[in-house]
């Protein structure tokens, strides 16, 4: 929140600057004076690796040829308050934005302003989190079943019985709810799986570590941990409590967690699990689809078909492959210790959808030298299932909402 104010001041300056530029814009193509598309990158908050990486990807792509000649990107950080993002959207629309790529703070509160923006001809592309307003595009992995698939992986590793912790995200957040509901759908089928502690870790490594340490004080005999982002902190808490004992656990995509899953010492101590969850690469995918629609190389989708699913990353311990260079090449999916911080979210890359990116893009927001924007593959865009309250309002969820896509149960309930 502290950051918000300064960011806003900066954004305001940028908006004023941008505003003067678009005054004389012709109506037909709402471009800026110098012929560039005016694109806003609207973030919730900065300050954790995931948010920064997602933003850096878009910045890097916007600076990669030919977008560096055709796109004017303005970054605006709104903090954690939906009201702030609403007024930021209003300013962007008033300034003649062509498109807004955004991490939406609320799935419902932004609907009205998004609707208004659509009527003014602004393209809205939401990544990771979603809005239920049907005129916006939602590009998200959220419907891809992180909760249920990772829960099943944990159940399999535990042979269907044991005491587990749930390390959740931010209370009241629709993403956290969706994940946890999916996971509980699986855990509830196994009466021998007992959730002995459930705590909110705010998708942060250090909070996860402290909360897990507290839970371990009461339950040192825990058999497994189901975690959302911040999972690397849970490993540190386990080692702190007992340097010789780890347990099966599932979590998201931090580099530290992937290295731990593949570490033979840790495996001997009992770690076993899957790294899955939210990829920052969604932002880049969203941005590229939007640019293809703006540039006319891709048709806009009808209003009720704008929910697009980003595939769920799924890396079990035995599938972790270290990268030699600065990209995901030859099927690698983690970086050697020391190259990136352990909290670095590895899924910034996607060789098919985003071949333009490298480590400098994710860490610094700089374009990869020599890279050029590549068109998306023809089959890149896949429709996401409807989920009421997440990506649509008056709609029915499919009957098999929580069906497993990545893993089969090896133990029957």
């Amino acid at each position: 929140m502290k950051l918000t104010k300064i960011a806003k001041a900066l954004a305001l300056t940028a908006l004023i600057g941008a505003g003067t530029q678009v005054v004389s814009t012709e109506e037909a193509s709402a471009k800026t004076k110098d012929g560039k598309w005016l694109i806003y990158l609207s973030l919730s908050y900065s300050g954790n690796s995931w948010q920064s990486e997602a933003a850096n990807i878009v910045k890097a792509l916007a600076a990669t040829p030919p977008f560096n000649e055709t796109v004017e990107l303005v970054e605006v950080i709104s903090g954690t308050d939906p009201q702030a993002q609403i007024s930021d959207y209003e300013s962007m629309i008033a300034n003649g934005a062509d498109g807004i790529v955004s991490f939406p703070i609320s799935s419902t509160a932004l609907n009205r302003v998004v609707k208004r923006g659509c009527q003014e001809g602004v393209l809205f592309f939401m990544y990771d989190a979603t809005v239920t307003e049907q005129c916006a595009y939602n590009i998200s992995y959220i419907t891809s079943g992180f909760g249920e698939n990772s829960a099943q992986a944990l159940v399999n590793a535990l042979d269907g019985k044991g005491k587990i912790f749930l390390s959740r995200g931010v209370p009241g957040n629709s993403v956290d709810d969706r994940h946890t509901n999916g996971a509980m759908h699986i855990f509830n089928q196994y009466p021998d799986i007992e959730v002995v502690a459930e705590y909110y870790s705010y998708w942060d490594d250090r909070t996860t570590q402290q909360e897990t340490a507290k839970a371990l004080a009461a339950h040192p005999d825990v058999d497994g941990i189901w975690a959302q982002a911040g999972e690397f902190g849970a490993i540190q808490a386990l080692l702190q409590a007992n340097p010789d004992r780890l347990v099966p656990m599932t979590g998201e995509n931090s580099n530290g967690f992937r290295l731990a899953l593949a570490n033979p010492d840790y495996q001997a101590k009992g770690i076993d699990g899957v790294s899955a969850g939210s990829p920052p690469a969604q932002s880049g995918f969203a941005f590229k689809i939007m640019m293809e629609i703006l540039n006319g190389t891709r048709d806009a989708l009808p209003e009720d078909q704008r929910n697009i699913e980003y595939p769920l990353p799924w890396v079990p311990g035995d599938a972790v492959v270290l990268c030699e260079g600065d990209k995901f090449e030859d099927g690698c999916n983690a970086f050697p210790d020391g190259k990136v911080p352990s909290s670095f979210v590895t899924e910034v890359f996607n060789p098919e959808l985003l071949p333009e990116l490298s480590l400098t893009s994710a860490l610094e927001g700089q374009p990869t030298p020599g890279a050029e924007i590549q068109p998306l593959p023809a089959d890149a865009v896949k429709a996401a299932p409807n989920e009421p309250g997440i990506n649509c309002r008056q709609c029915e969820a499919p009957a098999d909402l929580y069906h497993l896509t990545k893993i089969e149960p090896t133990v029957q309930p």
Partner: protein, 341 residues
């Protein structure tokens, strides 16, 4: 001291009585808060058989040490009638600098540690000067400085703090000595040191004097401006130290690492019997407050109840402790029983 004597002589016996009552009241608060903490630990056995064990006590001591470190500085600032809202940002600053400058090596630690802590002290000095000489309200001054420091951290790291603390630091924070986590020893040393500094050193007594009555302290010839600046500097030093320890604990820094210590650091000071209006306080009480808050959080996490209820209970217990442990409450009880007897 001259003044004190003169007043005592003039006010005769009544002054003496008030002084005795005040000291014993403080003592009772401390005993009560530690008693309450121990009672909570023992009672928590009902929740989980592993509770009430030595390992739970270890966890609580360990986790509370971070809060104790930064609450000491907060306590000094509150003592001189201030409030330090920049603690969260300075913790982050300490952590980010620790991770990025040490960068996973023990080399040059002798220079780096004073450098990192020195950077934090500068932040405190700036806050202190603003409060003491420019007369900016402490609330505004420290909030503004905190904002600036946080933004500098964000810009410096570009959102992703990199690097690792020195292996020596990580090993210390994660290591054990005679079966007890090493930071617990550090905590004990810190508590002794802090108590001596705040209550028994000339520096601490001067701060007390400034907090009690800045004008009187000034007339008595104390450099009150300088003392206020030094309180903020110590607070920033402690916050930076907390950040360094946290980075060692988590083997890295995050930009939000200080957020969860700001309000608890104030709560620990106040629950521990210090006056939020300044001029009265005792570090042992603050330590008790920090232990109480951490114990409560540990038990609530283990209960596995809804987040809403958790925060309600946390708020409720803090409020109850504050009301119940006030000197006035003891005085009230004494009066009631005194009348009956």
């Amino acid at each position: 001291m001259q003044n004190d004597n003169a007043m005592t002589n003039a006010g005769a016996e009544q002054e003496d009585k008030r002084t005795t009552a005040k000291v014993s009241g403080e003592f009772v608060t401390i005993v009560a808060i530690f008693g309450l903490t121990i009672a909570m630990i023992l009672a928590s056995r009902a929740i989980s058989p592993s509770f009430g064990s030595w390992s739970q006590v270890e966890t609580i001591l360990y986790l509370s040490s971070f809060l104790v470190f930064c609450a000491f500085g907060q306590g000094l600032v509150i003592l001189v009638r201030g409030l330090d809202l920049s603690i969260a940002s300075v913790i982050t600053l300490g952590g980010v600098l620790t991770a990025s400058l040490m960068n996973g090596s023990n080399e040059g630690l002798i220079y780096l540690v004073p450098m990192i802590l020195g950077a934090c002290v500068i932040v405190g000095v700036v806050s202190g000067i603003g409060v003491a000489y420019l007369r900016v309200p402490p609330f505004i001054m420290t909030m503004a400085v905190g904002l600036i420091v946080y933004s500098l951290c964000l810009g410096f790291t570009r959102g992703t703090p990199r690097g690792y603390p020195a292996p020596l630091l990580s090993d210390f924070m994660q290591g054990k000595f005679l079966g007890v986590p090493a930071p617990v020893y550090l905590l004990l040393v810190f508590v002794v040191f802090g108590t001596v500094l705040q209550s028994y050193s000339a520096f601490g007594r001067k701060l007390n004097a400034v907090g009690n009555n800045p004008l009187a302290a000034y007339i008595a010839g104390l450099p009150s401006g300088l003392l206020i600046v030094s309180a903020y500097a110590v607070s920033a030093l402690c916050a930076g130290f907390t950040g360094m320890m946290l980075a060692g604990y988590a083997s890295g820094a995050t930009l939000r690492m200080g957020d969860s210590y700001l309000l608890p650091s104030i709560a620990a000071v106040v629950v521990g019997g210090s006056s939020i209006l300044g001029g009265q306080g005792n570090f042992v009480g603050t330590v008790g407050g920090a232990l109480l808050l951490t114990t409560l959080a540990t038990i609530l996490t283990a209960l596995g109840i809804e987040q809403g209820w958790k925060t309600i209970m946390e708020g409720g217990v803090i409020l109850l402790a504050l009301i119940a442990l006030r000197e006035q409450s003891f005085a009230f009880l004494r009066d009631v029983f005194g009348k009956r007897g």
